[in-house]
Amino acid sequence: MAAVEVKNLVKKYGSIDAVNGISFSINEGEIFGLIGPNGAGKTTTLRVLSTLLSINGGSVTILGYDVRKQSADIRKLISYLPEDAGAYKNLTGRAYLQFIANFFDQKEVPVIVQKGIEIADLGARIDDRVDTYSKGMMRRLLVGRALMTNPKLAILDEPTSGLDVINAQEIRKLVKTTAQSGTTVLLSSHNMLEVEYLCDRIALISEGKIVEEGKPKTLMEKYKVRNIEEVFIRTVRE
């Protein structure tokens, strides 16, 4: 069974078509990348799959649940990391993770929090208030928050945004490990190297439509280019 099944998804903001009839599916345990220029409809798609936005047409099924009718069931299985997400500034890193963990299985809360702390890897700073964190520390805390609950589907919008090279690489490894342990990952990124390294399959989205889809290697061969960045430029320009 596909973890995610998107068919002819349409999302409008008034008269503007943000997403115009896109279709794709993601297999369980797969890392799927959504790539596109700014304003292409990536964030809207991720928000629809995260149950944040309603849809104007088509259908979206996540792990067998319809996003229109069963959003509450979907929220128990997914984890969404928005690109510009923040945390409650008056809480410490640990208290923030605890707050999020409390929404899940009560018996598992200490385990979930511990996992979040390990992923965030903030050392003693985990007990400092969030408003004292640097951008990179904040992002690590949020990645920890997103992955600590062992979601069936992790939706990550620019997961390494704001991180330095070393931290970004650690997060990429973590995403890879998370997928290997059975979590399906849908991510969007502007970093083509990241996409090439992480994703089993990618979809290139432009002006609300999917213009290309496939395995990174297959796409590079199809366009006779050396990397995904060139595939991206070619498809978007065409």
Partner: protein, 427 residues
């Protein structure tokens, strides 16, 4: 364009948003409505008082007093026998009168013997607000005028008359009828003052809670958006109703805590002059019982929940901390307006438009409850609680609906004027 012009133009463009103007326009409309309604009360106060006169004394001073009353007031009932008192009071009640004046048989005789002549005044008090005591105040100046004329006459007749007596040749014997109760020896202004000192605490506390707790709710929503935590919260396995209720309950708890601290201070402040007129309302049967306190508590709690739901709804429009501060303003005004209305006027004596307006504001009800309960007016209190509960349920339902739609995140709305308040869109 110069640097100054460029910056000014940019700043004006940023400030010229519906978020800046809509709350102020709403407040202006509220004030305009309030002003029009209060003008009606003022016009009423400027007209001569409507009274009834029973003159049993057809001698010099009795006739003089009666003549002055007929000249300077609108006399709608006239009689020469105090046995007609009840008829007079009924007539005045029908004709919206303020007082029945009885000049007793021995009025002139007492004055001639250098004893103050009694003027019996039966006040018909309609409301306990400051504005309601305006007609009695006007009448009091009339009594002063009568005194002056009697004094003049006494001096002209006899230059050796007792000076201290001649300065106040009459004495008022007052009884006030208010809400079917008789208050012997009390004038409307004293009664109104006593009632105000007994019931003023709740309106002030209510206003403070709403302002403080309301600000907490609106700011909380604004900070969720500004700190980018809202999207995460909305994707967690928690019901939208729980998010809305949780925020309201938390703000209510903090608001009540703040109110308790505030009330302790205010209680000490008010206890300083609660019995300043030397009259204890309990001796007239005007006591707030423990059951009444439960009603006041219920009214206060429901109004707080309704107010916070309204704040929550306003909070969904807040884009950031700055816009939250602007949105707090109309809520503050909505809390202050009933406080002033209940202070200056009585709900029963308000013009119909203002009555509807006051009743519609959920915060009015706990402010009006103590006075209503003193006079056992349970209909107003229970009716208010029911109305505010419905108001709260409807408002919470709207907030939950907003939380379930895209509007919270992308600001999509059918109402164009609201777009500026809510716009926040990213593809």
């Amino acid at each position: 364009m110069s640097g100054l012009g460029n910056i000014t133009k940019k700043e004006i463009r940023e400030l010229l948003t519906p978020a800046t103007f809509v709350p102020i326009i709403l407040v202006a409309l509220i004030f305009a409505t309030l002003g029009n309604s209060l003008q009606g009360i003022q016009e009423q106060a400027a007209t001569p008082p409507i009274i009834g006169v029973i003159n049993e004394d057809n001698s010099t001073f009795g006739t003089m007093t009666s003549t002055i009353l007929h000249e300077r007031a609108k006399v709608v009932y006239n009689s020469t026998s105090s046995s007609d008192k009840q008829v007079g009071l009924e007539t005045l009640k029908e004709k919206n009168g303020v007082a029945l004046i009885i000049i007793p048989q021995n009025f002139t005789e007492r004055i001639r013997h250098e004893q103050p002549g009694n003027i019996e005044v039966y006040w018909i008090m309609k409301g306990a607000g400051l504005m309601d005591t305006l007609p009695p105040s006007i009448f009091e100046s009339l009594i002063a005028y009568i005194n002056t004329n009697i004094s003049k006459e006494l001096i002209q007749e006899n230059t050796t008359v007792n000076a201290s007596f001649v300065l106040s040749p009459t004495k008022r014997v007052e009884t006030t009828k208010f809400k079917d109760q008789e208050f012997i020896g009390l004038s409307p202004s004293i009664l109104s003052g006593m009632l105000s000192s007994q019931t003023m605490l709740i309106p002030i506390v209510m206003m403070m809670i709403i302002i403080m707790a309301g600000s907490i709710v609106i700011t909380s929503m604004a900070l969720e958006k500004e700190n980018k935590t809202l999207e995460t919260l909305l994707t967690l396995p928690v019901k939208r109703t729980s998010i809305v209720t949780g925020k309201i309950v938390a703000a209510a708890v903090i608001g009540l805590l703040l109110a308790i601290i505030y009330m302790i201070g205010m209680q000490f402040y008010f206890s300083g002059f609660q019995f300043s007129a030397g009259v204890n309302l309990a001796s007239y049967g005007l006591v707030i019982t423990s059951t009444d306190f439960i009603w006041i508590g219920a009214s206060l709690f429901i109004a707080l929940i309704a107010g916070l739901s309204l704040c929550m709804l306003m909070g969904t429009f807040a884009k950031n901390y700055k816009s939250a501060q602007t949105l707090t303003f109309p809520i503050t005004m909505l809390a202050m307006i009933p406080m002033f209305i209940t202070m200056f006027a009585d709900f029963d004596t308000l013009p119909l438009a203002l009555k509807i307006f006051t009743f519609a504001i959920p915060f009015s009800h706990p402010m009006m409850a103590p006075r209503a309960l003193l006079f056992h007016d349970y209909t107003l209190v229970i009716g208010g609680i029911v109305y505010v509960a419905i108001f709260a349920i409807v408002t919470i339902s709207i907030v939950v609906w907003v939380f379930k739609t895209d509007r919270l995140l992308v600001g999509t709305t059918k109402f164009k004027w609201l777009k500026g308040l809510t716009r926040r869109r990213r593809f």
